[in-house]
Amino acid sequence: MRAQRFLGYAYLAPYLIGLIIFTAIPFLTSLYLSFTSYDLMSSPQWTGLSNYTRLFTRDRTFEKSLSVTLLYVFSTVPLKLAFALFIAAILNYKIRFINIFRTAFYVPSILGGSIAIAVLWRYLFSTEGLVNMALAGLGFSAVDWFGDPTNALFTITLLRCWQFGSAMVIFLAALQSIDKSLYEAAAIDGAGKVMTFFFVTLPLLTPVIFFNLVMQMVQAFQEFNGPYIITQGGPLKYTYLLPLYIYEEAFKKFNMGYASAIAWVLFAIIMVLTLVAFWSSKKWVYYAGDKRS
């Protein structure tokens, strides 16, 4: 048994080394750096809380960046999940060619993260781009997508909603695993389709809704390619999401300490929201076969 103990660690070794060198130490280092001023040239200077006080009292860019980040996450995640669930619910009927539809809807998820698609998006929504041409064809006037603050952020939201495929595939798999006899029982009790969806289907889906919610939220808070390529943070920093701000502070201006402080604020927000999700999940997530419900 002693040999067994040793053996487990032998196979675990790559992970343990990676965990310590590339995750644990950097994690603590960035916390330390967030209390310093560090430009990569001289060694870090301890400055106490001054990075954080500057962030929260004097930095207007941070204020703007934080508010657009929250706006972005709280609009994109619910929209994307609702859309993914809606399409999955339709596909869950006895649809012919379900595999073709599923594949077609999944294609954008495969490509969506690529620079090519961000570049395409930048063209699609340009003043003379495809979207405005289509709008003109339908008799609408052209929209200034990148000049208007709300519209510019919305183009990034649209790009991420366009990639609803992986959330949809997860929803669909969960929908297909629901016991059909529950629907029959609901029908016998006289429940209509809408009632059945809200009182049978939705509660049984809460575990995957929870999973998708947390994963998509963590991802949305780290959105970088969209604002970097499509809108370049503009207009007037209305799409200047926090990851872009961190990138520019750290790798353009080499303010490593200040950038670490912003990263830690972003991390704290994500962590608090994740914990809230986990804590509240006891109240709304239903695990079949579990006693609490």
Partner: protein, 301 residues
């Protein structure tokens, strides 16, 4: 007598009417369903279809109509886009992408298999805590470790090389894959492995000859996802790669929108088509693995 039969017929007609109504409703709702699916599918895929068409258009035609078919198809965009404004052609950038992807995928597959094997088949002290750390790493936003990692790689002299992109993955840094393989391995029976052990195979032999073949489909999913993510990765190369001769396609594409002054969109769109082609081909050849990988991850999570 007649009364009863009359009542019967009227009941039957009522039934038939209800059935007909139900059938009509059913037909209506499935028409709506298909119409919706087609509309959504068309809206979603049209930009991609259009992209392919537009890459064969001239630069002026791109801005003149929303149609898919080019009026006078030309490969000018491809020819000029391939040349780029740098001393290198796009062929070089594809080769660089390949050089990043191949070691990274191999390293990921080997290290994640080992780690998953440890978690699924061995007992060791602190196993629960360590497995908890996999979930923690999975949820940990990269943004918080990126800066110290950069400093570490700078101190090691690894900047402007592919090492910062390879090494963390070769040390099972992508927790998602570890998690996926552990879940998959736990669902497999252990009798084959026990039989091998009885026959005198050691744990490494068991891993290589019994477990790896059984892990087959899950490992294919891991490799495909890693391929796709690395192909699409932009921030990693952006931070670590600074010389143009080492650029992967994602950076080269970004460079081409920065350097073509008047936005030669036909070139940019042509190169966009080329950069998404490998991912698309791999996806269509092996889509089963993607869909299964994604759904398994979600169900188990």
């Amino acid at each position: 007598m007649t009364d009863i039969s009359l009542a019967k017929t009227s009941a039957r007609t009522l039934d038939e009417a209800a059935a007909a109504r139900r059938a009509r409703m059913h037909l209506m709702s499935s028409v709506i369903r298909y119409a919706l699916l087609f509309a959504v599918g068309f809206l979603m895929l049209y930009p991609l279809i259009w992209l392919v068409g537009a890459s064969f258009k001239t630069n002026s035609e791109i801005f003149s109509g929303a149609g898919f078919l080019p009026q006078s198809p030309t490969v000018e965009g491809y020819v000029q886009g391939w040349q780029t404004s740098t001393p290198y052609t796009f062929g070089r950038f594809f080769w660089n992408s390949f050089l990043i992807i191949l070691p990274k995928v191999i390293g990921t597959a080997i290290s994640c298999t080992m780690v998953a094997y440890a978690f699924a088949r061995f007992d060791f002290p602190f196993k629960k805590i360590l497995f908890g750390s996999v979930i923690a790493v999975l949820l940990l936003p990269n943004v918080v470790t990126r800066i110290p990692q950069y400093i570490l790689f700078r101190d090691l002299g690894w900047l402007d090389s592919f090492l910062p992109l390879w090494v963390p993955s070769a040390l099972a840094g992508d927790a998602f894959f570890v998690f996926m393989l552990v879940q998959f391995l736990r669902s497999l029976p252990t009798d084959m492995e026990e039989a091998a052990r009885v026959d005198g195979a050691n744990s490494l032999q068991t891993l290589v000859f019994i477990v790896v073949p059984m892990l087959g489909p899950a490992l294919v999913s891991v490799c495909l996802f890693q391929f796709m993510w690395t192909m699409n990765d932009f921030l990693g190369p952006l931070i670590y790669i600074s010389s143009v001769d080492k650029y992967p396609v994602s950076l080269a594409l970004k460079l081409s929108i920065d350097t073509t002054e008047a936005f030669e969109w036909n070139r940019i769109l042509a190169m966009s088509v080329l950069t998404i082609t490998p991912a698309l081909v791999v996806f269509f050849v092996a889509q089963r693995y993607f869909i299964e990988g994604i759904s398994a991850g979600g169900r188990k999570g």
